[in-house]
Amino acid sequence: MNDPHRNSGAAAFADRRDSACDDAELLRRISKGDEDAMAAFYREHGKVVLAQVLLVTGERVLAEEIVQDTMLAVWRGAASFRGESSVRSWVIAIARRQTRDRLRGRALRVVDDAFLADQPSSNPGPEVMALDRAKLAEVKGAIQGLASAHRELLGLVFGSGLSLREAADVLEIPVGTVKSRLSAARTALNRILNEKGQNL
């Protein structure tokens, strides 16, 4: 394949691996009250966390407030990081809890994974074909029309760059459920594109 994005993804993954030790060191310094480390942590993770939260909430101001609270939680709780996960997934898990707390009480759209689950097929149907025809802008619009649980997972995997295992840890669900939810998300995405009759 000659997909230019593959290289950027690989580079980002390599960067993540290289920065893993730096992240842990940043948290150690933050736990000792190092403001510069907190600033560096914000630079490293702030945008990713904001993007992830915004993808879930769809509300910019709310998302920024959640990031603010997340960073406060990091400042206060850096010492609690035990290295059992990547720092990226750790901070996103914090943001997710903050988001959940903020959204508690709102009417949430419940996604039934079993209902939406899609099994890979060797003969792609018209819904899959819709994705083949779609332009990037159309896909972006369709992603925003997904249920929040689907947006959240796509954000974790493709936006935040978490592995399926890390995403499962953040979401507190089995890896198998992550896979079925991913497939369901793409099915829903295809359905949205197909319903809109978007094609090239």
Binding site: M1, D3, H5, R6, N7, S8, G9, A10, A11, A12, F13, A14, G33, E35, M38, A39, Y42, G46, K47, V48, L50, A51, Q52, L55, R60, V61, A63, E64, E65, V67, Q68, D69, L72, R76, Q98, D101, R102, P120, S122, P124, L131, D132, A134, L136, V139, K140, A142, I143, Q144, L154, G155, V157, F158, G159, G161, S163, L164, K179, L182, R186
Partner: protein, 315 residues
């Protein structure tokens, strides 16, 4: 590889799309399998969509360019404050647009001792033929009139209305009272936030500036040495203030404008040497000697207000 078929499973496809490690066998299969390549391309398109959305979401408004005064860049907390406020400017456009339609200020011009107003103290604004501005220091407030003293010593009398936009900055720590909504930027230490800048506004701006800790919420426990910010989530953040803390009050009252503070008025000239201005602002970060020249894209209120705010608060 998928145990039930010869094709790549979802985990391999995702790993391939995200650039994570893929087994040699899977990579060899992908190289020769058109179906798996198509499937990977579909996931790549989804991934690109998410990444694009993430990139758009995480964009922080660029701070406006500082006035071309030849001065050196501000340093330390002031630079941070300038960056912060620059980002605020963009978020204010809609707010300002609401107030600008009705927010006219009448500016009367007069040279010192002449009282005639024949010597104009206004400068033209490029991009909008009729728009003019006056820069200087606040000499005094007389009732609804604001008197600005320009660098050449001329006095500009500004008559305000109830809907005039007034932004004040300066020694306003005493105006940070319990219940006020604020956005605080500063440095954290020992669980406290040492404030470089406090913005008091009933509709506080959103700040997300790398390198600076920002907190937004409601003021409680206001005292001489600081206050507590209670965030919407109920977190309580103690804030310390000092003589170096800049305070800006959006939608201020006339009494909150600071005597001697750098002041800018922008508006349209009227009959008899008057000027109907759009706003009177005291930015928090204008150094002595700066003379900000306004330039706008066009005469629309949105464009004008965007540039006013960028000029006043952009650094």
């Amino acid at each position: 590889m998928n145990a039930n078929s010869t094709h790549l499973d979802l985990e391999d496809l995702i790993a391939e799309v995200t650039g994570q490690a893929v087994g040699e066998h899977a990579r060899e299969h992908l190289a020769g399998c058109e179906q798996c390549q198509l499937e990977a391309n579909r996931w790549s398109l989804v991934a690109d969509g998410v990444r694009d959305l993430a990139a758009e979401a995480a964009e922080v408004p660029e701070p406006a360019r500082p006035p071309r005064t030849g001065r050196r860049a501000l340093a330390g907390p002031w630079r941070r404050a300038a960056v912060i406020v620059g980002s605020v400017a963009a978020s204010l456009v809609l707010l300002v647009a609401i107030g600008i339609a009705a927010g006219l200020v009448h500016v009367h011009l007069s040279g010192p001792g002449s009282g005639s107003g024949s010597e104009t103290t206004l400068t033209s604004v490029s991009g909008c033929a009729r728009l003019q501005q006056a820069n200087g220091r606040l000499e005094r407030v007389n009732g609804a009139d604001v008197v600005i003293k320009t660098a050449s010593g001329q006095l500009v009398t500004v008559t305000t209305t109830a809907t005039t936009r007034l932004d004040a900055s300066g020694a306003l720590l005493g105006d940070i009272t319990n219940g006020a909504t604020v956005t605080v930027a500063g440095t954290s230490s020992d669980g406290r936030l040492a404030a470089d800048l406090v913005i008091v506004s009933t509709n506080p701006p959103s700040l997300a500036v790398p390198g600076t800790v920002t907190v937004r919420g409601t003021v409680a426990d206001a005292g001489a040495a600081g206050f507590t910010v209670v965030t919407s989530a109920g977190n309580r953040v103690p804030v310390t203030t000092s003589g170096g803390t800049a305070v800006s009050i959006f939608r201020a009252s006339l009494s909150q404008l600071q005597d001697g503070g750098r002041t800018m008025a922008v508006g349209y000239p009227g009959p008899g040497g008057t000027l109907s201005a759009l706003a009177v602002l005291q930015p928090p970060n204008w150094p002595v000697g700066a003379h900000a020249k306004l330039s706008v894209r066009n005469c629309s209120s949105t464009a004008i207000n965007h540039e006013i705010m960028a000029l006043a608060y952009g650094g």
